[in-house]
C-alpha cells in the first residue's frame, strides 16, 4: 500500500517535471555541461590540480544550490500561480512529500556530479557533501516558501539570483554571516557542521511552515 502510494507520487513528479517542457533540462545542462566546461577552462588556463580543485569547489557552490530553485519554482508553478491552482488545491492538500522527492532527485544529480569530479580530479568532494546538501536545501526551501507566500514564482527567482550574486561577490567580513557560500575549504568537521547546522534547521522549519501556508487559497 505504502509502495503504491510512493509509485503514485513518483508518477506525479514525473508528469510535473515533464510539464515543464524544455525548462526541465536547464539544471542538467548547467550541472553536466557548463560546470565541467568551466573546469576544463581552468585546466586550459594552466591551473595546478590544487587550484582546479579549489576553483571547482567554489563553482559547485555557485551552481548546485542555485539550480535547486529551478525545478521547485518552474515545476510546481501551477500550484503557486497557475490557472489550475484552485483545482490542484482541491485534490492535493500538501506538497511536502512531492517537493522533498524532487529535492532528493535533484540532489542525486549533484551526487553523480561529485562522483564524476572525484574520478576526474582525484579529489574527494564528498567530504563536503553536507555543505552542498545544506546550501541546496536552503535555496530550495526558501524559494518555495517565498513563492507560496507571494503566490508568485518570479519574485523568489529574482531574489535567488540576487542572493547568488551577493554570495559570489560579498567577501566583506561583516557581511559573511549572511553569506551561505563558503569561500574557504573547511579544514575540520566542526568547520562544516557548526555554521551549517543552523541553516539546515531553519530551512526545514521554513519548508514545513510554508507547506502549511500552501493549503490556504
Amino acid at each position: 500500500m505504502c509502495l503504491k502510494r510512493y509509485i503514485n507520487r513518483l508518477s506525479l513528479i514525473q508528469l510535473t517535471l515533464k510539464g515543464m517542457g524544455i525548462l526541465y533540462i536547464v539544471p542538467v545542462v548547467f550541472l553536466f555541461l557548463v560546470l565541467p566546461f568551466l573546469t576544463y577552462l581552468d585546466f586550459a588556463k594552466g591551473y595546478s590540480p590544487e587550484q582546479c580543485y579549489f576553483s571547482t569547489y567554489i563553482m559547485l557552490q555557485i551552481f548546485c544550490p542555485f539550480f535547486a530553485v529551478w525545478w521547485t519554482l518552474f515545476g510546481f508553478r501551477e500550484y503557486v500561480e497557475g490557472r489550475i491552482r484552485e483545482l490542484l488545491l482541491v485534490y492535493k492538500k500538501s506538497l511536502i512529500v512531492e517537493l522533498f522527492l524532487v529535492f532528493v532527485f535533484y540532489f542525486l544529480h549533484i551526487c553523480v556530479l561529485l562522483g564524476l569530479y572525484c574520478i576526474i580530479l582525484k579529489f574527494n568532494y564528498f567530504n563536503y557533501i553536507f555543505i552542498f546538501f545544506v546550501q541546496t536545501f536552503a535555496f530550495f526551501s526558501i524559494s518555495f516558501s517565498i513563492s507560496i507566500i507571494l503566490k508568485n514564482i518570479a519574485i523568489p527567482f529574482i531574489i535567488s539570483v540576487c542572493y547568488e550574486i551577493f554570495c559570489m561577490t560579498a567577501n566583506i567580513d561583516f557581511l559573511k554571516f549572511i553569506n551561505m557560500l563558503s569561500s574557504d575549504i573547511p579544514s575540520s568537521t566542526m568547520d562544516i557542521i557548526c555554521p551549517y547546522i543552523f541553516i539546515l534547521i531553519s530551512s526545514i522549519f521554513v519548508f514545513v511552515l510554508s507547506n502549511s501556508c500552501f493549503k490556504r487559497l
Partner: protein, 272 residues
C-alpha cells in the same frame, strides 16, 4: 447527501455567503445567481478550499469532482498525460486509470485529441478537458462552476446529455448565470443572491413565481409604470416598440403573457 447550514463567509466587509442554508440530495442542481452573488464561494466552501466563518457543511462522501471557473492545464503535457495527472491526484488505481481516462475523454468528445498537447487546444476544448477531469473517478459530488462558458452550442448540448448519462446516484451542482443552461437538465434550482438562498425548487416551481407577473405593453406606457417592476426586454413589431415588463402589480395597459423560467428567476431575484 450534502447539507449547508447557516454558512457565512466574508471577504473584508463583503459577505459572500450570508447565513446560507441548502440541502442537496442525489440529482442535478442548478445554482443560479447574478455575478458576485456567492456561487463560487459556496462551491469553494463545499470542496474545502474555503471554510465558512459560521455554520457547517455536512457531507457524507469524500470523493468530489470539481471544475473551477478558471481551468487551465500544463501546456507541455498531452491530453492523456493531463488526465493521468488528475487520475493520480484523485488516487485512482493505476490499473483502472487507462480505461477511466479513455471513457471520460470519449464522453467530452476529445478522443481524437488525446495525443495533442494541451497548449494546442482551443479554449472550448480545454474547458471540455476540465469537465472530463471533474467526472473522472466516479465522484459522488460533482461541482461545475460555469461549465458551459466557452463551449459552442453543439458542445453545450453534448454537455447536457453527458450530465444525464452520469447523474445516477450523484449530486451534481452547476453554477451559472445562464438560465437556459439549467432549465432542461436540472432537477432543482437554487437561486442565490447576496450570499443568501433566495428560493429553491423545481423548474416549474421557479417558473410559477413569474406567473401573472409578465406583461407585454407599448413602450410609451413605460413612464406610467408604478411600484416594483423590471423591464426585461424591448421588442419591435409592426413598426411599434414594445416592452416586456415583470411587475407584481397588474398592468391594465398591457397584455399578460406566459412566464418562463427566466421570468421566475428574475422575479425571485428582484423581489417582484
Amino acid at each position: 447527501m450534502l447539507i449547508l447550514k447557516n454558512c457565512t463567509k466574508s471577504f473584508k466587509k463583503t459577505k459572500a455567503l450570508n447565513d446560507f442554508s441548502c440541502e442537496f440530495k442525489h440529482g442535478i442542481y442548478g445554482l443560479l445567481g447574478p455575478n458576485g452573488s456567492g456561487k463560487t464561494t459556496m462551491m469553494r466552501c463545499i470542496c474545502g478550499l474555503l471554510s465558512p466563518e459560521k455554520g457547517s457543511i455536512e457531507c457524507d462522501c469524500e470523493n468530489i469532482g470539481y471544475l473551477p471557473q478558471q481551468f487551465g492545464a500544463m501546456k507541455s503535457l498531452t491530453v492523456y498525460e493531463t488526465m493521468r495527472y488528475f487520475a493520480t491526484l484523485k488516487k485512482i488505481p493505476k490499473s483502472n486509470q487507462d480505461n477511466e481516462i479513455r471513457y471520460c475523454i470519449d464522453l467530452v468528445n476529445l478522443s481524437d485529441k488525446i495525443k495533442n498537447k494541451v497548449g494546442s487546444l482551443s479554449g472550448g476544448m480545454v474547458r471540455r478537458l476540465g469537465i472530463a477531469q471533474a467526472i473522472m473517478g466516479n465522484p459522488e459530488i460533482v461541482l461545475f462552476d460555469e461549465p458551459t462558458a466557452g463551449l459552442d452550442p453543439e458542445e453545450r448540448v453534448r454537455f447536457k446529455s453527458l450530465l444525464r448519462k452520469i447523474k445516477n446516484d450523484k449530486t451534481i451542482i452547476i453554477s451559472t448565470h445562464i438560465v437556459s443552461d439549467v432549465k432542461s437538465i436540472c432537477d432543482e434550482i437554487v437561486i442565490i443572491n447576496e450570499g443568501r438562498n433566495v428560493v429553491q425548487g423545481t423548474c416549474s416551481d421557479i417558473t410559477s413565481i413569474g406567473n401573472e407577473k409578465v406583461f407585454l405593453l407599448d413602450e410609451e406606457y413605460e413612464n406610467n409604470l408604478e411600484g416594483n417592476y423590471y423591464v426585461k426586454d424591448r421588442i419591435s413589431k409592426d413598426n411599434k416598440n414594445y416592452i416586456i415588463v415583470l411587475s407584481s402589480n397588474f398592468i391594465e395597459q398591457g397584455v399578460s403573457i406566459n412566464a418562463d423560467i427566466e421570468d421566475g428567476y428574475l422575479c425571485a431575484l428582484k423581489d417582484i
